[in-house]
Symmetry: C4
Amino acid sequence: MSQSFRQRLWAILEVARPGDHVSRGFDIVLLSLIVLNILAVILDSVPSINRRVGPALNAFEWFSVAVFSAEYLLRLWSAPADPRFAQPIRGRLRFMVTPLALIDLIAVLPAYLPLFGLDLRFVRALRLLRIFRAAKLARYISALRLFGDVIREKREELILTTCVFGLMLLITSCLMYFAENEAQPEAFSSIPAAMWWSVVTLTTVGYGDIHPVTSLGRLLASFSAILGIGFFALPTAILGSGFIEEVEKRKKHHIRTCPYCGREISR
Amino acid sequence: MSQSFRQRLWAILEVARPGDHVSRGFDIVLLSLIVLNILAVILDSVPSINRRVGPALNAFEWFSVAVFSAEYLLRLWSAPADPRFAQPIRGRLRFMVTPLALIDLIAVLPAYLPLFGLDLRFVRALRLLRIFRAAKLARYISALRLFGDVIREKREELILTTCVFGLMLLITSCLMYFAENEAQPEAFSSIPAAMWWSVVTLTTVGYGDIHPVTSLGRLLASFSAILGIGFFALPTAILGSGFIEEVEKRKKHHIRTCPYCGREISR
Amino acid sequence: MSQSFRQRLWAILEVARPGDHVSRGFDIVLLSLIVLNILAVILDSVPSINRRVGPALNAFEWFSVAVFSAEYLLRLWSAPADPRFAQPIRGRLRFMVTPLALIDLIAVLPAYLPLFGLDLRFVRALRLLRIFRAAKLARYISALRLFGDVIREKREELILTTCVFGLMLLITSCLMYFAENEAQPEAFSSIPAAMWWSVVTLTTVGYGDIHPVTSLGRLLASFSAILGIGFFALPTAILGSGFIEEVEKRKKHHIRTCPYCGREISR
Amino acid sequence: MSQSFRQRLWAILEVARPGDHVSRGFDIVLLSLIVLNILAVILDSVPSINRRVGPALNAFEWFSVAVFSAEYLLRLWSAPADPRFAQPIRGRLRFMVTPLALIDLIAVLPAYLPLFGLDLRFVRALRLLRIFRAAKLARYISALRLFGDVIREKREELILTTCVFGLMLLITSCLMYFAENEAQPEAFSSIPAAMWWSVVTLTTVGYGDIHPVTSLGRLLASFSAILGIGFFALPTAILGSGFIEEVEKRKKHHIRTCPYCGREISR
């Protein structure tokens, strides 16, 4: 009977199957809590809001940690209900190293670290780690798998593109360092500084905090910027075509992903 | 006979059928009035022009409201001439909630609100609402349907892309807040402020009002900017392919949309 | 015999046929003169260069005008050698209104206007018109036809896209004017000023001379910038696919355009 | 026997064949040395690092030059082991003018030039030339051939696009010079200065160091920026489609390029 209770609990904790209203309700509660946690982190960072509702946000943080901890422990306890994690010890260990279980652990663990006495600056950084609770959404937005699949499918091309971008970055920043260092020893103080300029230019962001002023520098920058446009073409072609291929494949295999519940729906 | 007059009026008010010169003339007059209204709003906002021709623009506004009000009432009166809105009361109510009828109502209603005594600041905002009279153009530019169809067709993919963009925004802004808050407590004062930076960078707009100054911040910003380029690929692939598909489909079904009169033309 | 001389002259003036070395030589001389004219306009605008070699540039200008005038008159005289312009009067008139002949006329005419006494400021503007001599290159770079064909083929879609861009511009600039006018009465002084911001943002150029500072303004600007990315997708899809289609079509019909001499080459 | 030693040496110096562990080891050592050289150039340019570890970087430079020189001489000596460079003198000369051998020479030659007495400023520039040692990577990243092939395949279209970009640059910069020169004689001082603005705008980088302030200038700039978006479409279409075609072709011919070792792998 404990086994059947464990199976029921596992079913509730997992993403709900169509018709399982209790499990669906649990999913909605947990989803809301994750979204509220994200909002809390954002609001917490605004000084004026922090001053007013800081204690409330703190209380909500502890409440969230308690709920997420309980969720994690219950998942761990009921894991053997899944055939993949059948054995009490080894199954649970195997469950613990699944990506989703690791995310769940990382979502609560940093909250317990200050208890062991750490300096305040580090604690502040830990507080920010709470934002990674957003990763808990991954369980519900299984549509993210589409993106993962596209990136996996086009792995080689993307690595190649990154290499080429790296070489372009290296060459343009060295040339610009040579061209502008004398005229602007502050802005183009070193090759790494020139690299910041290169990234900003090749991606066509163009903040304008660093820009060439000499004729030679402007000529080189012009070629860099035009190269940057050419470079745009590659991720657009690779990711774009990969995305369309993957969507076609799914449509062909009668797989649809509901954008709301994150489920794959067979037609 | 009143019925036949009503039907004639309805035909004139609707977009003209080929050969109906009276209705065509009415369409041109109304179209011109809408375009002049848009121009009036724009000119009204320029202080130097407002000072000189303010009263004339005001008079034109009241004239426009009168014409648009008459147009709306005539449409409402003659609506039962259309089989879809056949019954005198229920038909007219059903007509009133169609999108185009609602747009016509919103185009005139704000002009009457000040009559009921409202504070001036709110009135100023209401004046600006006049710009939504541009939406009245939707009746005539039925080519806009093409865009609507593309967006409807690619609904799921666009929602997915928006979700992914939201996550990227969240993660990059949290990391940048952590990296830059200490060095620039003014610019990166909070996560929402960092979000503004994130949007400006991920879309490669790059105003340069906020930009990272620390090495860690610049490294993170570089990755964000490159991610931004990758992200460009998705709407380009989704909307681009959707647009081409839709145009092909229309060409295949011998449907052409005249870009001038906004009509669909069968070949 | 005069007729055969006229035909020979016409053949020389026109783009050379393969093997006609005299005509080829004339083409190269004229092309060089056009390119030198463009360089002269550019150098003329640099104050330091203008001060040193101004008189030489002036002399070169008069030499060019003389050559281009002679070229135009000879073309006009020999035009009836072409069957399209066979009649002495009507044929020449018909020749005069062809685009290439009009370009040739515009290339020399402004140089004669100061002779009729005009104020200096206008003369300065006329001098700049010389840059349109670059249009004379159109005769030689017939590959430009490819672009013309793509734009003609995709006329409707481009008009549609321009309309949608116009509506986006109108709506985003009105909203931003409303959101930012009070906080930055200088920068967002009127809707036309806000339109400048809109163009800079929707095209993702982002100079940073005008940018929102209020929370509402930044929120609206974020949506505008994301819309801007979406808008990128449309010309990319339209022009990109049109360009590829046109190149395919030409390859299929064994038409190749030499990028150097601008000729279409049949295989 | 010397011949067989020469052949073994040639095999080791060349990129390793599968199973040749000695040659593989040599490749890894050389690759690491190249990467360390790149890092050294970058670190050398940072003043704070240069002050601390300058002598060590200098020593590493001389060590690298020694190794690369030895590598070049050994390659030259063992070249006749390759059937392509069979003859002792003519074969070696033919080897010396291959692109990879020239790169190897350029990688070491500048280091020897200061020995012949040159002024210091020139030496500083020569030091920077070391960055071109990165080109030695070309031997190992044969995947770069994919990019070379795409560019070669689409040569004509890219030349055409560059011509059109040049014309757009010319026309927009002349118009802007005319529109803004009077209002901003400093920023738009000459047509070449306006060209810098044009490049920054047409590529949508938008640093904001030069931007129009007059109404006419802003109108022209708006059209330029929109043209810039249209121009984006062309390299995206050309390079993107070329890249996808080339990848397809390689997949069809069972050619895969390992992104790590840079080898083409037949399946």
